[in-house]
Structures are given as C-alpha cells and as structure tokens.
C-alpha cells in the first residue's frame, strides 16, 4: 500500500514516515502542497495523509485538486484543534476522514487502515467474512454457503456501517443518524428491530452472537473476528 504524507513540519514528518513504514506502508513524504500534488498525479498512491496547514497551498486546496483527478484517491486530513471547523464543514471537497492533532500513533494507523478497507471495498467489491457468512459490500449482498441471505435495504446498510467501523460502539440514536439519516422521523425501535433481524440472519446462534454485539446500556458494535 502506498501512502503520500503531506506535512510541512519536519519534526512531524520525521515520525509519520517511520510510523507508517513500520506498519508496512510504502511512504513518500512532501513538505509542500505543490510537490505533493505533482507526485500524486504522477504515481496515484492508495491514500494521502494531508496536513490542513501548508506553506504554499492550503490542505483544502490540495484536497480539491485531488478530487479533480479521474481516479478516486482517498484522503485523510490532519487537522489542528484550532482549524476553523466552519471552513472544514463548508468546504466543497471533503476528505474521507479527519484526524485531529495531537495524533495518537496507533489511532492514526487504525483510521488509515479502516479507510482503505472502506474504499477498497467500494472499488473492488471487497468481501468481508463474518463466520460462515460472506458480506459483499459492493454487491450489497450477504451470502451463506453461496446462497443469498434476504436482507432489507436498511438492514444491509446497518450491517455495512458496522462493518466499516469494527469494534466501535454506537448508540441507537447515532445509528439512526448515520444509517437512516438525520431527518428520519421515526424512533430508535427501528434500530432495535433491524438489529434483531440481522442477528437472526447472520449469526449461527442469535442468542449468543459472535459478531453483532450489544454493549449494555449504550448500544451495539460489530467484531470481524468472532467474540464469545
């Protein structure tokens, strides 16, 4: 996996590069937006780690240029706490993920990995295995022993969202917000009923789920590896 790091501060660049190399990435690093853009156009990396504040172009401008490329290149934006949130929110060219400094090394690597999983799933029809069930995120289909499992659109969307955020606990309202959308006028029972149907469909034993877990008093989370 090739990653381009765009960070103007040498003290930060000099640890981001070995940090990502340690995790098996092939890393190229640049201190200015224009140098980075030339390399990105030329060599199409798998992901770009982009600081929002650069000396020549702003990180937002670089992101916009990357979005104009014919091929989709995922971008993780490194933002400071003092970055103007309005500016980021209102900006037309969205990054795929935002990581706020100070960077927690393991977290940064995990977020880049998660993004790559998402984008490669969208691009290459990535199939995720949950025990004996295969979830094809591109075909939006779950299969057991090759036979499709009948799932409603929202059930699949809920499953796909949890697969994209393995191990992360979400409350019912958060899931409603992310999967049904912030304008959905129903209540959180929709999440509960979809979740129990998903368990029946996906789990070998829905009463003792191995992948679709409840966190008591908080919400739900998914593990890719079976967890008793």
């Amino acid at each position: 996996m090739r990653v381009v790091v765009v960070e103007d501060k040498p003290a930060l660049r000099s640890y981001l590069v070995p940090l990502l190399e340690r995790d098996g990435f092939d890393v190229e690093a640049f201190g200015t937006g224009s140098e980075a853009l030339a390399a990105i156009r030329d060599r199409r990396p798998d992901v770009v780690l982009l600081d929002v504040g650069l000396p020549d172009l702003s990180g937002l401008d670089v992101c916009r240029e990357i979005r104009r490329l014919p091929e989709y290149v995922p971008v993780v934006m490194l933002t400071g706490l003092d970055s103007a949130e309005d500016e980021l929110r209102g900006f037309d060219a969205k990054a795929d993920d935002y990581v706020t400094k100070p960077v927690v090394p393991e977290l940064l690597v995990a977020r880049i990995r998660a993004l790559l999983r998402r984008t490669s799933a969208a691009r290459d029809g990535h199939v995720v295995a949950l025990g004996s069930v295969e979830v094809d995120l591109r075909a939006r289909e779950a299969r057991r022993d090759g036979a499709p499992i009948p799932l409603g659109a929202k059930e699949f969307a809920l499953l796909a969202f949890l697969i994209e955020h393995p191990g992360q606990v979400f409350g019912k309202t958060q899931l409603l917000n992310h999967v049904w959308g912030p304008d959905y006028d129903g209540d959180t029972h929709a999440v509960e009923s979809r979740m129990s149907r998903l368990r029946v469909a996906i789990e070998d034993n829905p009463n003792q789920p191995a992948h679709l877990h409840s966190r008591r008093g908080v919400g739900y989370y998914l593990t890719l590896e079976p967890k008793p």
Partner: protein
Amino acid sequence: MTLALLVTVWLLLAAVPFAWWLTTRRRVDVWRSLPVPAALLDADRRVRDQAGPVSEVTFDVSAGLPARGHVIRGRSSDGTPIALAGVRGGALAVALPRDPVADRRDHVLAELGSRLAHDINTPLDALRGHLDLIAHEPISDPARDSVRTCQRELARLQTTAQDLLAFTRLRAGGGRRVQHLAGALAEEAVAALLDRADALGATLTVDVPSERVVVDVAEGDLLRALRNLVGNALTHGLGERRDVQVTVSADTDTVTFAVADSGPGLTSDDLARLSQPLVRGDGVTTTGSGLGLAIVNEVLAAHGSALDVAPRDGGGTVLSFVLPRVAP
C-alpha cells in the same frame, strides 16, 4: 408640601436597604425590573425574560423567589452574570457589570493561552510521535520505563494544551450552530469514554429518548462539554458504586442533559468553585488541566444555559443543563 416631604423621606428610607445590598456586591446596575411574582413563573417554575440587553435569561425558582437580600445567580447568553435579587415585594433581575480588572485578566490569559497552545502543540505532537518510535525499538528495560514515563507526562501536557486552546477559542466565540439529534450527542460522548470506564471498572451507561429530539448546538463544543462532564464523573465521582449514567430527557420545549455519578456529592458552592478556570478538586494533583468545568461553563453560556447541581437518589451528584428543543 409636608406630604411630599414625607413621601420623599419614605422613599429614601426604603432605598437604603437595597442600596446597601447593591454596594456590598460591588456596583450593580439595575438592568430590568420584573413584575412579581406569579406572572414570572412558567410551568417549570422558571423565571424567563427575553427582552432587554441580553437575549434570554432563565432563573430556576423552583424553591420560590429569593427572599429579601438573597440572590439567585444566572447567566445571560452573552455571558453577562445576572442575578435575581429578592427585594421588598418581589424580585429584581440585575445585570452585574463585568469587572474591568477581571476582564483585562481574562483577555491577557486568552491571548497567552492561545499563543502558548499554538506554539507548544506541534513540538508536543512531534515528541509524542518520536517517543512512540523509540518505544518500538529494542531498548533496555530502564530506558523503556523512562520512555513510558515521558509518554505519560507528555499526554498530560497535551491535555492541558488542548484544554487551554479550547478554552481560549470558546472565549473568542464558539463554533457554528447546527441542528443535531440530542441523543446522538450524548451517545457519542459516552462512546468516547467507554474504554476509560472499562479501565476504571466503572459502569457507564446512556439513556436517551426513543423519539426524535433535536437541539440547535455548536456540535463540537457541546460534545466537548459532555465529554468533560462524563470524564469528570469518572475521575472524581465513582465512589463505591462506580456508576455513571448519562440521561437525555425532553418535554415539548426543552431538552435536559444530565450526568449522574456515584461519588461523595457536590454542593452548588463546590460547583461554583470548581467552575473557576484552573481550580481542581481537592487532592487532585495527578490529572486534568483545571479547565474542564470552566470549558463546560463557557460552552453552556454560549448556548444560553448553565450547569445545575442536585444530589442523586441513592448517593452521588447529578450535573445537568437544559437546552431549548427545536420544534419537530
């Protein structure tokens, strides 16, 4: 003539107690006289007023209007401290003028804090990253111990720098308001602290309305305030029961966010003291920047709200605040 003289004397005499009350609390401008008392009270027994130089002030008068010489403190949406003062025959809402010395001090602190936070964040970030690289190298056990100590201390410094920057940003005006599902905010704040709760052996739960409840908030700021409240409860309020519960409840007009802990209990005086910037809880020397509750107060003031403290049934403290509910 005599009658006029008598009336004047009577008025002067009547003014003395109030003038005394005013002068003992620095100079106080009478901001707006409110009619008393029934017309003030809405169904929640809160005094509201939406006119005058501030956009909205809410006082909690659930225990009745203040007695003469007593005050209930409130805060306007622009941060002006407001008091509801008990006077003969009712109450007056008064705006306490900002103290110029304190204002100047706040301004200098804000400038200094912002500069400091900017200038030290990047080096701290670099130090943390490079320490992480060293920690992954084959080094001796004493060297590894030293690196771990450095990482721990650095994490503290980073927390302080972030809190300082957040505080100074809030002083300069908070983030942009957006409509957001109230329950999702509370759930996100709780989810962010689950690992910490697990490490402390604490039960952290969240209870939100199943119906759609929307608030108009600066999302990042409100999340920070909620995380600070839950984080404080985990750090200082676990007690023996080790139980922290976050609740969001709503009626037709308002949404209440509450964080209940199982600690030794806080009084409103404790809360007022701990809400001052850089004041930490008694005996707390290990963690925190001393800005946690001050940040919460800044965020809530920017939303026209304020923190309320009440005992929790069965022991502990409930810290809560109320926001207007966006009409469905």
